[in-house]
């Protein structure tokens, strides 16, 4: 299933997402046809169990999909909708058959800030942590104030209309499920973007001539490219591990590691890619910034690397000297599928 997903999303994004799409998206344009094509492939409901109308794909199967959303800077909240629908499915609520669904933590009466793609969302999955419930809300009639992250992606402030609740159920997942799930998808998106940055930077280094030869022939540039590649490889490996360990909800330590490592790698990788691309890569005309600005944004969303390191560090210190190694190996241990 994984290979099939990977092939179909890569083909779709190669056809449907180019620099022009991304430029338009930053001015607020939304492509109904891109979303419709993703729905036609069954992607938004892929993680939903079969009896609730999905495909029952595992997070391992879906890793390439979310990574590809990162490498192509896809201007639509497919990762968010995948998670939102999976959460509904985990509490036995049948997800809506179509439409953008996003997720957040909070309650139905307060302002929800920084909601990804709030303006585009038809549905919202809200984790009410004080009551331990998960609700599906209709976004029709919600008050939406537009805001964006540093990459120009919608991160809106939203107040739901009264009577927005469609259905709800008890949810026994961890109180920080929203943050963990967000960290999970962002780490894969970061890995995807870093992979693409590596390719773009190596290609540019072969094309740009200075001092009579391609800049990639200079050892200083080669060493920087190698560093970029290792950061991309590390982010990819640890993000994939976090997806392999995710079940109904993400595995804490693996996901925390993934976001901490991917976040740091995002900072280093974006800096190297800009260095290699010179002034040309600093222009709005060039498409490098579609990835680098997203890396900056994704690095801080759902917890920065320092924040996740701190949480991880507290657990490790609590486990003490003899607990350290078991704690580390636990993050990649085979876990039963549900």
């Amino acid at each position: 299933m994984r290979a099939m997903f990977q092939e179909s999303v890569e083909r779709l994004f190669a056809d449907a997402v180019d620099a022009e799409t991304l430029r338009l998206a930053e001015t607020g344009a939304w492509s109904d046809s891109l979303w419709a094509q993703m729905e036609a492939l069954g992607l938004p409901l892929a993680a939903v169990s079969e009896d609730l109308g999905g495909i029952g794909a595992s997070w391992t199967d879906l890793f390439p999909v979310i990574r590809a959303c990162g490498s192509s800077a896809v201007p639509a909240p497919l990762p968010e909708t995948l998670v939102a629908n999976a959460l509904l499915s985990a509490c036995g609520i049948a997800p809506p058959e179509s439409g953008v669904t996003v997720f957040a933590a909070g309650d139905a009466v307060s302002v929800l800030r920084g909601l990804p793609w709030g303006r585009q969302a038809r549905w919202l999955v809200l984790h009410d942590t004080t009551r331990g419930r998960l609700g599906l809300h209709d976004m029709t009639g919600a008050a939406v104030e537009h805001d964006v992250n540093v990459a120009g992606e919608p991160r809106d402030a939203v107040i739901l209309a009264s009577g927005s609740l469609v259905s709800d159920a008890a949810f026994d997942g961890p109180p920080d499920t929203v943050r963990l799930s967000g960290a999970l998808i962002r780490s894969a998106q970061i890995a995807g973007a870093l992979g693409r940055l590596t390719e773009m930077s190596a290609q540019y280094a072969n094309e740009r001539i200075q001092f009579g030869r391609p800049i990639g022939k200079f050892q200083a540039v080669q060493q920087q490219l190698a560093l970029l590649a290792t950061q991309a490889a590390a982010a990819g490996a640890v993000a994939e591990a976090a997806f392999m360990q995710a079940r109904r909800t993400p595995h804490f330590a693996t996901t925390a590691s993934a976001k901490a490592v991917a976040g740091e790698a995002a900072g280093r990788g974006a800096a190297i890619a800009h260095a290699v691309h010179g002034a040309l890569g600093f222009t709005h005309e060039h498409s490098l910034h579609f990835l680098t600005r997203r890396l900056w944004a994704w690095r801080t969303e759902y917890g920065s690397d320092a924040r996740w390191s701190e949480r991880l560090g507290r657990l490790i210190a609590d486990a003490g000297e003899d607990g350290l190694w078991p704690f580390i190996t636990e993050t990649l241990k085979e876990r039963p599928q549900p």
Binding site: T198, A202, A205, N206, P214, G216, K217, Q219, V221, Q222, Q223, L225, A226, L227, A229, T230, A233, A234, A235, A237, V238, E240, A241, A253, T254, A256, S257, A258, A260, V261, E264, D305, A306, W308, S309, E310, R311, L312, G313, R314, L315, I316, A317, D318, A319, G320, E321, G323, L324, W325, F327, I328, T329, T331, L332
Partner: protein
């Protein structure tokens, strides 16, 4: 890593040496993943595994893959029994990073035997091993990568002189090994004459990707974890957590290379990634400990941590030298990216 033949033999009796070798050669037909788990646990526990380590990690797989049947029968069961130890004879006084310039020569004589002359250096544990797999020039007219071959040198042969070299901390674990007209039997050649370079580089994938490439500083990390106490302050928690997160990432990478090795691939690129990041991580553990050292509550654990820091600090510069320097690995990575 301590050198303890008694421990190596006991480990072999337990069935934990030569795990991936076929049963017919005294091995256990285990998977690379099973070997990975055993290696990791040994390193994490700080076990004295250095006697059999190189033989088990790279010499045995090399002999299994390229060696003649007689070599397999002679060496593999002894390696799997934890009784025969190998060292790596690549570097020479004038050939470090530029390994293809090696000058040690093995000349074929009319009786088919080889006459070995030259000098290897930095050879870890040569003074305590039984044999070396040496990269030598077998075609005197050749230059660079062509004309290199690998030979097995039994280190008790006449003409072999081994002189230990002290390192910055005063320890003697690496050596200079001189060959003066050492006569090797005709079957000392491993694999094909002239294919030494290709064989040695694929051997290096085993050396570069294993858990020893990121666990050298684990003892220090463990000490720190204990020394900060159960309720660290925010700065301590960030530093400790960061070390944990990267360790998780490195393990994931190393396990993936293990999978590629098991699948018969030559993951030179991915192995170089693991080594470059892993050795940087180990050195970073030392940096982290230095940043935290004066924040530790004054306990016995803090004193232990300072001692372990001193030992690890004394080894740290070598992490990114042995097995290929950081700059050379990044060169390999750059070539893989298509810019070299």
């Amino acid at each position: 890593m301590g050198f303890d033949p008694e421990f190596s033999r006991a480990l072999a009796r337990q069935g934990w040496v030569g795990l991936t070798l076929p049963k017919q050669y005294g091995g256990h037909d285990a998977t690379s993943f099973e070997r990975f788990v055993v290696s990791e646990e040994l390193l994490a526990a700080g076990a004295p595994v250095s006697a059999h380590w190189i033989a088990d990690r790279q010499s045995a797989p090399l002999i299994l893959r390229h060696g003649a049947e007689s070599q397999k029968q002679r060496y593999l069961p002894a390696i799997a029994a934890g009784e025969m130890y190998f060292c790596i004879g690549m570097s020479e006084p004038d050939s470090g990073s530029d390994l293809a310039s090696v000058r040690t020569r093995a000349d074929r004589q009319s009786d088919g035997r080889w006459r070995l002359n030259g000098r290897k250096v930095w050879t870890t544990n040569a003074d305590r091993c039984h044999a070396m797999i040496a990269l030598v020039r077998t075609d005197p007219a050749s230059e660079r990568h062509a004309g290199l071959s690998q030979v097995i040198v039994d280190l008790d042969l006449p003409g072999v002189t081994i002189r230990p070299i002290r390192d910055i901390s005063g320890h003697e674990h690496f050596n200079e090994v001189t060959f003066d007209d050492v006569i090797l039997e005709a079957d000392a050649l491993v694999g094909t004459a002239g294919e030494g370079w290709a064989q040695a580089t694929s051997e290096l994938a085993f050396e570069r990707s294993g858990p020893e490439r990121f666990l050298s500083a684990l003892t220090l990390f463990r000490c720190l974890t204990e020394a900060v106490g159960r309720s660290p302050d925010a700065r301590q928690a960030v530093e400790i957590g960061r070390l944990g997160a990267w360790l998780v990432a490195l393990r994931a990478m190393s396990i993936s290379v293990t999978g590629q090795l098991a699948g018969g691939q030559d993951p030179v690129w991915a192995a170089s990634c693991v080594k470059d990041l892993g050795t940087g991580y180990e050195q970073d553990t030392v940096e982290t400990a230095i940043r935290l050292i004066d924040s530790l509550p004054e306990t016995d654990q803090a004193r232990t941590t300072r001692r372990v820091l001193a030992v690890t600090q004394g080894m740290a510069p070598s992490f990114s030298l042995r097995g290929g320097t950081r700059e050379i690995l990044r060169g390999i990575l750059a070539r893989g990216l298509g810019v070299r």
